[in-house]
């Protein structure tokens, strides 16, 4: 196999990885950091794509579409948090109920989308400014993919900075584990959680809008992406953005090269990777092992 093929396969895998990371980053925030299991995260990704499709139809501008995707998904996310998710917090078996509730969101959003936009798939095209391709030596990469890779890097650096270097980040980190303590400090914890949910779903929506030109927009796409995103978040170690980035690249590349060497089994590789990782590192790759709980 020639070197060129390997390089272009690698770059292809990287773009897939970055798209995956865009979705998984929102999930890392809400599931990893805030400890809310949002099974419907992929559905917000799908909603983002549909909103951007709708906005592009109206305004004929890709960037307005992206904005609409993010804001629309974020707003719906916040409403759902306030109306439902918030009200079951603190319950016994909260985790199971969160899974169930957000699973219900998946079903409702899927059918809602079908009802509004119909079952047929939609497409949008790349913005003209990014429609070209960049050629370096023997390798060509579409400008849009480069842009996605850059966007992923911007997100991981921003998230890392906000979470570990700002006061806001400390509050966010503590809000889910030391809820009472943070409340005592005069922080409105439920407002923080709603905003967090909104930001996370907006990130999902943005990812959907960004992925739309490369993939199709159709009902059910949210369900496909959520499992892969969960894999990424879990492999990376819950709540760790760099870990999620690494895991996304791992999954992206394993898939890209898997198609070359094991074409028939490529779609199973993500699961195989997760199984291997969890068997050897029971809390993902980048989680610090915590001491035993106090008794």
């Amino acid at each position: 196999m020639s070197f060129d093929v390997l390089i272009s396969q690698f770059l292809g895998g990287l773009s897939v990885a970055m798209l995956l990371f865009l979705v998984a980053s929102g999930l890392t925030l809400i599931f990893g950091v805030a400890k809310v299991f949002n099974f419907a995260h992929g559905s917000f990704y799908m909603l983002g794509a549909y909103f951007s499709f709708q906005a592009i139809n109206l305004f004929n501008n890709f960037w307005i579409g992206a904005l609409a995707g993010a804001i629309g998904a974020g707003l719906i996310g916040m409403v759902l948090e306030i109306c439902f998710i918030r009200r079951i917090s603190g319950r016994e078996e909260e985790g199971a109920f969160q899974i169930l509730l957000t699973y219900a969101f998946i079903l409702i959003i899927d059918d809602g989308v079908k009802f509004i936009w119909g079952p047929a798939y939609k497409t949008i095209s790349k913005p003209e400014s990014l429609a070209g391709a960049l050629t370096v030596g023997p390798v060509t990469i579409p400008t849009y993919n480069l842009f996605i890779i850059l966007l992923g890097l911007v997100i991981v650096v921003t998230a890392w900075y906000v979470l570990s270097r700002t006061r806001m980040g400390k509050i966010i980190q503590a809000a889910s584990t030391d809820t009472q303590m943070v409340g005592m400090l005069g922080v409105n914890v439920s407002l923080v959680m709603s905003l967090l949910f909104g930001v996370a779903t907006a990130m999902g929506g943005l990812a959907g809008a960004m992925a739309a030109p490369l993939r199709t927009i159709a009902p059910g796409t949210g369900v496909e992406i959520i499992i892969d995103s969960l894999i990424v978040v879990v492999i990376g170690g819950l709540g760790n953005f760099w870990g999620a980035l690494f895991a996304a690249i791992l999954i992206g590349e394993v898939n890209a090269f898997g198609i070359l060497w094991l074409p028939q089994w490529a779609s199973l590789l993500s699961f195989a990777v997760m199984i291997v990782v969890l068997i050897f590192k029971s809390k993902g790759l980048f989680t610090r092992e915590q001491g035993r709980k106090k008794i």
Binding site: F37, F84, R87, I88, R91, E93, G95, A96, F97, I99, L100, L101, Y103, A104, F105, I106, L107, I108, D110, D111, G112, K114, F115, I227, L230, I231, V234, L238, Q264, W265, S267, L268, F271, A272, M274, I275, L278, I279, S282, K283, G284, K293, I295
Partner: protein, 318 residues
């Protein structure tokens, strides 16, 4: 309501209702009843893990599919006379698989356990679809033969009902056995169980193996119902559906899950036929249950019963 009274009432209701189905002449009703007892066995055995032990597996469909494929593939290859021993083989295969997968996944805590069980099930689903030569892939297996005496809806229903009843009886014994009590202890306070001198992991493993074994039997029974099975029996939405039905019925009660299954299957039969937005409908029901009736149908009934029996012994609200 008194606990013993409730148990007796639910057992009688089960036997009368599903046993009585054999006098019903309606083929469709019998088919629905067969679906309910088979999925009911799946849900109740799943609840040994979930409601009793506190282990949320998102991959029990693996064992449901496994049971169906072991039965289906053997019967298809060797003929209908081999259906029964294939069904007898199912628990053994399932227990062996569960022993390995359980040993790997039960070391993980909470969500990691959930994700690993999901991954195993998805992997097997993928393999079943891709390994066409062995499993017929996405086509599934159709026209699975059965022995002569099980042919016909009613005969097969009687058979399924008897098998399920025996299984439920065994699971019920487990539910109230010393082992079952320890499982409840593990859900509530594993550290304390450890300080009773018990190995928590081994108890979880046995619970996992037993639960998976009965789930596989349910799968095997399903293979004979319509004689048609599909890789989607392995897929995560199957596991998710069972979790939903279990909570809908009530995860803190032995019979809760099968009540959830019955309600769900009947609703699907009635509503599913008249709308193409069935998922939307299910989603709405799930939200109502989660928000307003988290203890499920059994929990709500207990509250009602408690309301009427208010003057009784205030201590008796198990």
């Amino acid at each position: 309501m008194n606990h013993r009274l409730e148990t007796t009432a639910l057992w009688s209701a089960y036997v009368l209702l599903f046993g009585g189905m054999i006098f019903v002449k309606n083929e469709h009703a019998i088919h629905i009843a067969a679906q309910i007892v088979i999925l009911g066995l799946f849900a109740i055995s799943f609840n040994i893990l979930f409601g009793n032990t506190g282990l949320l597996s998102f991959g029990q469909a693996l064992f449901y599919g496994l049971g169906a494929y072991v039965t289906g593939m053997i019967a298809k290859k060797f003929g209908g006379d081999h259906f029964l021993w294939a069904l007898l083989l199912v628990p053994l295969v399932a227990m062996a698989v569960a022993l390995v997968l359980g040993a790997l996944s039960l070391r993980l805590s909470d969500v990691y356990f959930t994700m690993l069980t999901l991954a195993f099930a998805q992997l097997v689903w993928g393999i079943t679809i891709k390994w066409y030569d062995f499993t017929s892939g996405d086509d599934g297996i159709q026209a699975i033969p059965k022995p002569e005496f099980l042919a016909g809806g009613l005969h097969y229903y009687v058979f399924a009902f008897l098998v399920v009843t025996v299984c439920l009886y065994l699971l019920w014994r487990l539910h109230r056995s010393p082992f079952g009590t320890i499982l409840k202890g593990i859900r509530q306070n594993p550290t304390r169980v450890n300080f009773l001198g018990l190995n928590v992991f081994r108890h979880k493993l046995l619970a996992y193996v037993i639960s998976s074994c009965f789930t596989a039997i349910a799968g095997g029974l399903y293979a004979g119902l319509d004689g048609s099975i599909h890789p989607d029996m392995f897929v995560w939405t199957m596991s998710g559906g069972i979790i939903l039905m279990t909570i809908l019925g009530g995860m803190r009660s032995f019979f809760g899950p099968i009540i959830g299954v019955a309600v769900f299957v009947l609703l699907e039969d009635v509503v599913g036929r008249s709308t193409q937005y069935w998922s939307f409908f299910i989603g709405a029901i799930m939200i109502v249950v989660v928000m307003l009736f988290p203890k499920g149908i059994v929990g709500v009934s207990r509250q009602f019963a408690g309301l009427f029996a208010k003057k009784g012994d205030p201590l008796e609200h198990s």
